[in-house]
């Protein structure tokens, strides 16, 4: 298999990328290449131009500022996995990224690439939904910020114009004693999840949740926040029965039906996984939110 012919551009600055996007028709952005390259090899996409972002300076960083983690779009999944900042300040992402693909693909795959590709079953897309991430995009009129709730415009369709590209993502941080869990069901280790669930809980003084976030990935055309579950948790005394009752609402999801699984199976997984994620998040609540170091 060979990629189709294209013109290759390797800009060095954000401004050059914006300039190329404004000038070129039918251009594709190449980040980690773990989705675009297979699509090129199989000729699912036939771009006239490929704009390689890998040599653009200043797009790879992880830092904490004003109660949020700021992550450059070209930051590799493997750098997220081994970042102490991510592990200690945003353990949900740490737990999720360990389930993304394999070491060879995490070495290349980037956070900006994952979010821009917007596969509904992608772990980082589910995490961004769960954490109310804010995506920064650059375009001809400068930069703008898109809250993740408004980011998916449809199935694998981010709300980014053709002359814009993702430069960074900001993740507002939760209190350090929050509970969290990311669980997924995939047929093989490293596969995309058929369904995944992310849960986060933050307690008030009495130990009841003051804040909750529950997200189902892979079941619907974009990961979905389960607002009714979240509202049903706030202020309540947590129990297995409460989780069981609330998570039943996942059965009403407008689930995808495809060769991997029928809709009813995805709905069932969503019920089970959201409950498991909440149980695990509850067990971690008021403990330390930090996950142990691997190796």
């Amino acid at each position: 298999m060979k990629p189709p012919p294209f013109e290759y551009h390797d800009p060095r600055t954000e401004a050059e990328v914006v300039g190329l996007l404004a000038r070129l028709d039918n251009a594709k952005l190449l980040a980690g290449g773990q989705s675009l390259m297979p699509m090129l090899n199989m000729r699912y996409v036939l771009p006239d131009h490929v704009i390689d972002l890998n040599r653009v300076e200043g797009l790879s960083y992880i830092r904490e500022a004003e109660g949020a983690l700021e992550i450059g779009a070209l930051t590799r999944q493997r750098d997220l996995e081994f970042s102490d900042l991510v592990r200690t300040r945003c353990p949900l992402m740490h737990e999720a990224v360990r389930q993304v693909g394999h070491r060879q693909t995490r070495n290349r795959g980037t956070i900006g690439g994952s979010l821009g590709h917007l596969d509904p079953a992608a772990e980082l897309v589910t995490v961004a939904t769960a954490l109310d991430a804010i995506v920064t995009v650059a375009g001809p009129t400068g930069r703008r910020e898109v809250p993740f709730a408004e980011f998916p415009a449809g199935f694998m369709m981010p709300s980014i114009a053709l002359d814009e590209f993702i430069t960074a993502v900001r993740i507002p941080l939760w209190r350090s004693d929050h509970g969290f869990a990311f669980v997924e069901f995939a047929r093989r280790h490293g596969d995309f999840a058929i369904v995944s669930a992310a849960a986060m809980l933050e307690a008030d003084g009495s130990g009841r949740p003051a804040r909750a976030s529950v997200t189902i990935g892979g079941a619907t055309i974009a990961p979905q926040r389960m607002r009714d579950i979240e509202q049903g948790l706030v202020g309540q005394t947590l129990s297995q029965q409460l989780f069981r009752d609330l998570c039943e609402s996942c059965r009403a999801l407008e689930a995808i039906d495809d060769i991997h699984a029928p809709a009813a199976y995805r709905q069932h997984l969503a019920v089970v996984l959201s409950r498991r994620a909440l149980q695990a998040a509850h067990a971690r609540l008021n403990g330390t939110a930090v996950l142990p170091k691997r190796h």
Binding site: D10, N41, R103
Partner: protein, 162 residues
Amino acid sequence: MPHSRNIALTVNGERYEREVEVRLMLADFLRHHLGLTGTHLGCEHGVCGACTILLDGRSARSCLLLAVQCDGHDVMTVEGIAPSADALHPLQEAFRDHHGLQCGFCTPGMLTTLIEFLRENPDPTEEEVRIAISGNLCRCTGYQGIVAAALDAAKRMQAAPA
């Protein structure tokens, strides 16, 4: 050729300069342009792991990289693992001793992946080894011999660090 570029890169410690088509994938560059046919292509879309190489020391699938992207970078292939033409690396010796290969198609990707893994994790558990090679498919061995070889190689490499 308008869709071509000159690139210069290091492969297994040797410097190469070539003119390549920009759409050429790294795996085909290694095999057809440099004659390094140790890197195997199973699926050409990032699933089987046979094409794994180390790019600047990090494992990556060479079917998902363009040769032009490696301009100025350092690549290591399976040919670069053995210390010399008549000696094997302890990892390769362990593969031989534990029947870590049968047809050998997956072996280049297994070895390059495990080189990176054992460098990061010199004393792994069996489960960690299995996760490390989860992105590498083998049709022959049932993985048992590969896992045994990796665990034994870890011991050998700790006893005699390269």
